[in-house]
Amino acid sequence: MGENLFTGIAAWMRTALLDIGTPPLLSEFIVLLVKLLAVIIFVSLNVLWLVYMERKVCAYIQCRIGPNRVGPKGLLQTVADVLKLLGKEIIVPRRVDKIVYLAAPLLVFVPPMMAFAVIPWGNGMAPVEMNIGIFYVLAVASLSTLIFWMGGWSSYNKYSLVGGMRVVAQMVSYELPLVLALLGVVMLAGTLNINDIVNAQRQVWFVFAQPLAFLIYLTAGISEVNRVPFDLVEGESEIIAGPYTEYSGMAYAMYMLAEYANMMVVACMATIMFLGGWLAPFGWTFLPSWFWFFIKVYALIFLFMWIRWTYPRIRVDQLMGFGWKVLVPLSLANIFVTGVGMYVYRAIGW
């Protein structure tokens, strides 16, 4: 069922373009453009769905029903919300740094969108093949720190400033265990190419080979996307909304939606690195590979939501302590054990 649906469309388009006499280079370029556009549109729509999903999941956790008025089962609620926010004025307080203040919400979608360029959604379904894919994603994803900080710094508001400072401190200190956790997987797979890493998991998913790295990655990943219990950046009960405090209308909505896009990136990466990406478990290939990928990603996102609506928030010093005193040493130990293990494995020569 549709295993080659998307790759088929791409191939068909390529031949169609060649048939009408387009030069090969140009047709390649057009196909790439269409692919990237498709991903951007998909991610934007998916973010709307994730907001809806979050509201439904949290509603059921809290013994409520959640949105159920706009559209069937309330499915159009987020669309309505976004349309409403589009109609709202973006208030620019008098003493803000205007350019930075307005640029931040525009730029906030850029890092996750760039990261999606190399995510393989199914077998051979990465828009761009890159042999340093992991490195690229990590590099791009860490850019969002800067954008949040731009919003916090330019707002001319003490709550925003505190939030902005927390972003920098938190993201820098959790980036480290995140990368170190992924390093264990990279060592096992011996490559930075995302497709090769997925293919290396044909025998056994890396979540079983690297359980500790998986947990560290999840923890640091939740922290990277600023969600409970690490949502100190927003911390609505103490610093109102952190860097987003002064934003209104669509500018605020951009931040909010970007959070979900970032969450998607983290979930996709966890799926690729630890859960076998688009590989079907137990050889259940009756579902297409991209379908399996989405099942895994949404399962992880559901886990994030579950955690968010169950846990309270930790304090800033506990956050830093946990990052530097627990996660970093653990991930270093994980790398060490993995290295020794690999060496022993090879020496025995199983």
């Binding site: 809290q62 013994c63 219990p229 103490e238 169950t310 846990y311 309270p312 304090r315 010093d317």
Partner: protein
């Protein structure tokens, strides 16, 4: 490196100051150097208003003080007027007062527990508590016809008898309550992060608590056994068997946990009061026009926030010459400024939330 402190004006418009409370914080990074509490944004001059009203007309004003436990506010005021006039309240009225008063206490504590969960960052606990508080409000609505501002107490008794449908609903609620409390304990109290956030934060030593006049759960969390219902029983509280939960460290966690324990004890009291509810009138013989003799009286009760006292001076007319309320929320805030020093911004919210203030009562 040269650093400097900055002033953060927290409130009166802030999601976690539980109303229009304002704290001016002097911060060094995230650490509080100095705090200044600025109450008064909800001041309505209830004490002055009372001087221009007849005695029964003051009762609705008391509702607006601690609006989360209005029954107890009513009680404090009518107790003072009854003391002034020497009215003997009928036994059935006293039992009804205990039942609705304890229900009010449960409702108030449920709000305290729920909002504290939000203060710490967990939203789900809040909705669980409010879901169950709804059932208490439904019960009190059956009794008084109102959900928040009951004005149910009268000088000499209560406004109306308990309706027959009240008892089965109450019975079901009391049956469910222990398991609901277990649910809060499981979701909030037992949570690792919640404990890390609240244990040994904002410690009030027992002697300090006594010196600053703290009362209610805040005092008992410091380990001081002082509950008016036990140490100086008023109304019919000496007939019920219940325990007064005590804290050990006097930290935020103790102040939080003690409220859930008190909910359980209140349920015990209600159960006994319903079982022992005597027959008889619900109003004492009170003159149509209330005109207390010249003099003064002070009565106090254990409200959900602490000792709620009411001082009434009569000049022999139909209007009180002076009314003063001892509002526990306000007095409990006395130590706040010192308590906040040295803690972080997040702890400011945790400490303020654990004191469980209601701004209607603080500012009166």
């Amino acid at each position: 490196m040269r650093t400097q402190t900055y002033i953060l004006n927290m409130g009166p418009q802030h999601p976690s100051t539980h109303g229009v409370f304002r704290i001016i914080l002097e911060l060094d990074g995230e650490v509080v150097v100095k705090a200044k509490a600025v109450p008064g944004y909800l001041h309505r001059g209830i004490e002055k208003l009372a001087e221009l009203r007849t005695y029964p007309q003051v009762i609705p004003y008391t509702d607006r003080m601690d609006y989360l436990a209005s029954m107890l506010m009513n009680w404090g005021y009518v107790a003072a007027v009854e003391k002034l006039m020497g009215i003997e309240v009928p036994e059935r009225a006293e039992y009804i007062r205990v039942i609705v008063g304890e229900l009010s206490r449960i409702a108030s504590h449920l709000v305290a527990v729920g909002t504290y969960s939000v203060d710490i960052g967990g939203f789900t606990g809040f909705l669980y508590c409010f879901r169950d508080r709804e059932r208490v409000l439904d019960l009190l609505e059956m009794v008084s016809g109102s959900r928040m501002t009951f004005s149910y107490f009268r000088i000499g008794g209560v406004a109306d008898d308990l309706p027959p449908e009240f008892f089965p609903t109450l019975d079901k609620f009391l049956h469910d309550l222990p398991s609901l409390c277990d649910e809060y304990d499981g979701l909030i109290t037992g949570n690792e992060i919640f404990q890390a956030r609240t244990k040994f934060v904002g410690i009030i030593p027992p002697d300090v608590a006594v010196n600053y006049g703290l009362t209610g759960p805040n005092l008992r969390a410091s380990g001081v056994l002082y509950d008016l219902r036990k140490v100086r029983p008023y109304s019919v509280y000496d007939r019920f068997d219940f325990e007064v939960p005590l804290g050990k460290n006097g930290d935020c966690f103790d102040r939080f946990a003690i409220r859930i324990k008190e909910i359980r004890q209140s349920a015990r009291i209600i159960r006994q009061a319903v079982d022992g509810l005597p027959e008889g009138p619900i109003m004492a013989k009170v003159p149509r026009v209330i005109k207390p003799p010249k003099g003064e009286a002070y009565a106090e009760i254990e409200s959900s926030k602490g000792v709620f006292g009411c001082y009434v001076v009569s000049d022999g007319s139909t209007q009180p010459y002076r009314v003063h309320f001892r509002r526990p929320s306000f007095i409990n805030l006395g130590y706040l400024e010192k308590l906040l020093e040295g803690w972080k911004i997040a702890d400011v919210i945790a400490i303020l939330g654990s004191l469980d203030i209601v701004l209607g009562e603080v500012d009166c």
